[in-house]
């Protein structure tokens, strides 16, 4: 077990690309090695030690690496880039692109996380205690490949387009989300325990979007299917009733959009389609 603690020396005016901060990267590295790793602050490449105070606490074995980031890291980007094992704990806020291309291990952000959290994620787990920005679990612009696996849990709110182009894995948001969760979604599950600003599942081809709270309007390209008392997420059963829609028909989609019925009286128009 090896614990690497990175303490931010001071608030930074410019963005920092710290993709080096990953357990994979710190394995078999001494304090000196880690201090010497090069990161970008704006357009200057500097030693990691210029931005962070580095402390290593190890029992000699490197097989499990734990990274702590201390201080307000909201300008620090790409924490946990390509992490495949070990864990990272960000004790304050984190910047954009946390866990980009992550394939295993775990990342916990105690504060808020910036946009593109878990971008191109393939596996592993991310937990954010505060809020997250836009494009949680998305892909890079122009690709049709978002998050492919793993799990993201956000205790606060998330921004727009949660799970954009998502293929697999689960994203669970305890708070509210902005517009278009499940945009262009192809597989996996997006579960929103709070409210959603609207257009859930826009242009989705597959996968599940579940909204416990208010869903605003449902797009005209979703067909009402049935009313379900309960929805299963893994082992868990969620008490409904839920209006269940399928779509996006414009994409010949077979995605499922489930919206809590009692919280969304504006959708009761679809009850006239219930076969009795």
């Amino acid at each position: 077990m090896k614990e690497v603690t990175l303490t931010l020396k001071q608030e930074l005016p410019v963005p920092v690309d710290a993709r080096e901060i990953s357990p994979n990267n710190f394995r078999e590295k001494s304090v000196k090695d880690i201090e010497g790793l090069k990161i970008w602050t704006g357009n200057r490449q500097v030693a990691l030690a210029e931005v962070f105070k580095v402390a290593v606490n190890s029992d000699g074995s490197d097989d499990e690496v734990r990274v702590r980031v201390v201080g307000n890291a909201s300008k620090i980007r790409k924490i946990g880039y390509r992490t495949s094992s070990g864990c990272i704990v960000v004790e304050g806020n984190a910047g954009m692109y946390v866990g980009e291309e992550m394939s295993g291990g775990s990342i916990v952000v105690a504060g808020d996380a910036g946009s593109w959290l878990g971008m191109k994620m393939k596996g592993g787990q991310i937990e954010v205690k505060g809020n997250a920005g836009d494009y949680v679990g998305s892909g890079y612009r122009g690709t049709a490949i978002g998050m492919k696996g793993g799990a993201i849990l956000i205790h606060g709110n998330a921004g727009q387009e949660v799970g954009c182009w998502m293929k697999d894995g689960t994203i669970r948001i305890k708070g509210n989300t902005g517009l278009m969760p499940g945009m262009h979604m192809q597989g996996g599950t997006v579960c929103i325990e709070g409210n959603c600003e609207g257009r859930a599942g826009a242009q989705m081809r597959g996968g599940k979007v579940i909204i416990f709270g208010k869903a605003s309007k449902v797009l005209p390209s979703f067909a009402f299917e049935e009313i379900k008392d309960k929805i299963k997420i893994g082992e868990e059963k969620i008490q409904g009733p839920f209006y269940v829609f399928s779509g996006d028909m414009n994409e010949k989609g077979t995605g499922k959009l489930s919206v809590n019925a009692p919280n969304n009286p504006q959708l009761n128009w679809c009850e006239k389609y219930v076969e009795t």
Partner: protein, 437 residues
């Protein structure tokens, strides 16, 4: 004494993205006297180009802008940019391609973010294109063939005054001899002056373009609409419009920032592009953004061939990186990330939310602009410059990507430099500083 008088034909208008090229400018004694063939805006631009000019560079000395030498202004600007850790270079849509070229090389040397005004007009359009693609054509195709013309969230009568006449509903084409041969529809939240020219006006609720596009895709594919009223428009009306679109020979949607700036932004475009793509399995249909400034399209083109990306290019790490929302001007400024700014042929203080201006006021700003602007008020260095298409020439791209070359109609006031000269001089100075390091 007699005044020298000449009439210059086929002048290209450097105001809006329609870049009409049939203006006739009368120059008397080195000044523009009159202009024929242009719209009222181009008339104002050409006749008043010399109002509100200042001719010497200004620099801020204890809080006040004071006149200085060109060399001093260049040296200061180079110093500011070379020392910056994350400078932004912004504007580029109301100047020549050559200026964008010089700007991109400068951005490489100073490791900055190069963004153009696309970012607050049709940036979302490009984001839509990344996901879906785009079915489009040059403007002449519409003039020659289109029998169905839709203006959606755009108001050319105000923004592109001659667009309807030159390129669409009121133009004459090989296969469309008159207005009667074309159906014109306007979709907007209010009955604009453009709507008054249309055969049909469809008024939609604000922020519901996505829903209407979505419903249209349904109708085009022949699916029944379950909801009775969508985006404030009755389902039957939507189905009628869909039938019109399917049954035309050649249709076009011209869309404006009414789509890119409202709720959904790039997804309004995404769904519009998808709708038009779908329509091509039934008939010929294309779509085109109404680009605003006369060379905003050029700023995208130059940026794309030099870096691979059309705007919002971050060169801080020595190679182009791109992710609008991260590398776009408004975001960079609102986050307070950048520590210096070069503004060329644009006025962010007049175009950006006040929060952006608040950060600009905290960092050194260099402004290159023919006229004093709200931004020059808060600048550290201000370069007056010549006006492209009036006092100096340069390459530009029309809204549909047709390259044109503008020529000067009058000579600039003595001692005034062009955007390109100023940028190249700053670049030369920056190279010296960087190589010195």
């Amino acid at each position: 004494m007699t005044l020298s008088k000449k009439i210059i034909p086929n002048v290209i208008c450097t105001f809006c993205g329609a870049t009409c090229d049939d203006l006739e400018v009368t120059v008397e004694d080195g000044k523009v006297q009159t202009l024929r063939g242009g719209c009222s805006t181009s008339l104002n631009k050409f006749v008043n180009y010399n109002v509100e000019r200042h001719l010497t560079p200004l620099v801020k000395k204890d809080g006040k802008l004071e006149e200085t030498s060109y060399e001093d202004a260049i040296a200061r600007s180079a110093g500011i940019l070379a020392n910056a850790k994350y400078p932004i270079l912004y504007g580029w849509s109301s100047t020549s391609n050559e200026a964008s070229r010089a700007g991109l090389e400068l951005a490489e040397w100073v490791g900055g973010v190069m963004d153009n005004t696309t970012t607050v007009c049709h940036g979302p359009t490009l984001l839509g294109v990344h996901d879906i693609g785009e079915v489009s054509a040059s403007l002449g195709e519409i003039r020659q063939r289109a029998d169905m013309i839709i203006y959606w969230g755009s108001n050319p009568v105000h923004s592109h005054p001659h667009h309807v006449m030159r390129y669409s509903a009121l133009s004459k084409g090989r296969f469309r001899s008159s207005r009667k041969d074309r159906t014109m529809v306007v979709v907007d939240v209010r009955k604009t002056d453009t709507a008054k020219l249309a055969d049909q006006f469809i008024q939609i609720e604000p922020n519901s373009d996505y829903e209407l596009m979505c419903a249209l895709r349904m109708a085009v594919r022949g699916d029944e609409l379950e909801q009775d009223i969508i985006a404030g428009v009755p389902a039957e009306r939507i189905e009628e419009l869909a039938d019109l679109m399917i049954s035309c020979q050649f249709g076009v949607i011209f869309f404006g920032v009414g789509l890119t700036m409202t709720q959904g932004k790039h997804r309004n475009i995404d769904v519009a592009l998808s709708l038009v793509r779908d329509l091509n399995s039934r008939t010929k249909f294309i779509i085109m953004p109404m680009r605003g400034w006369y060379n905003v399209a050029g700023a995208n083109q130059v940026s794309a061939w030099v870096t691979g990306y059309p705007y919002a290019v971050d060169l801080s790490q020595g190679y182009p990186r791109y992710n609008p929302g991260d590398t776009t001007a408004v975001d960079v400024l609102v986050r307070g990330d950048c520590d210096a700014a070069l503004v060329v042929a644009s006025d962010p203080v007049s175009n950006f939310p006040v929060e952006v201006t608040r950060h600009l006021a905290k960092i050194p700003v260099i402004t290159i602009d023919p006229h004093p602007s709200a931004t020059s008020l808060i600048s550290e260095v201000v370069f007056p410059t010549t006006i492209v298409g009036i006092e100096t020439g340069g390459g530009i791209y029309r809204m549909d990507g047709v390259a044109m070359v503008t020529k000067p109609v009058v000579s600039p006031p003595p001692g005034l430099h062009s955007d390109v000269e100023i940028l190249q001089d700053i670049l030369t100075h920056v190279k010296k500083l960087k190589m010195g390091q």
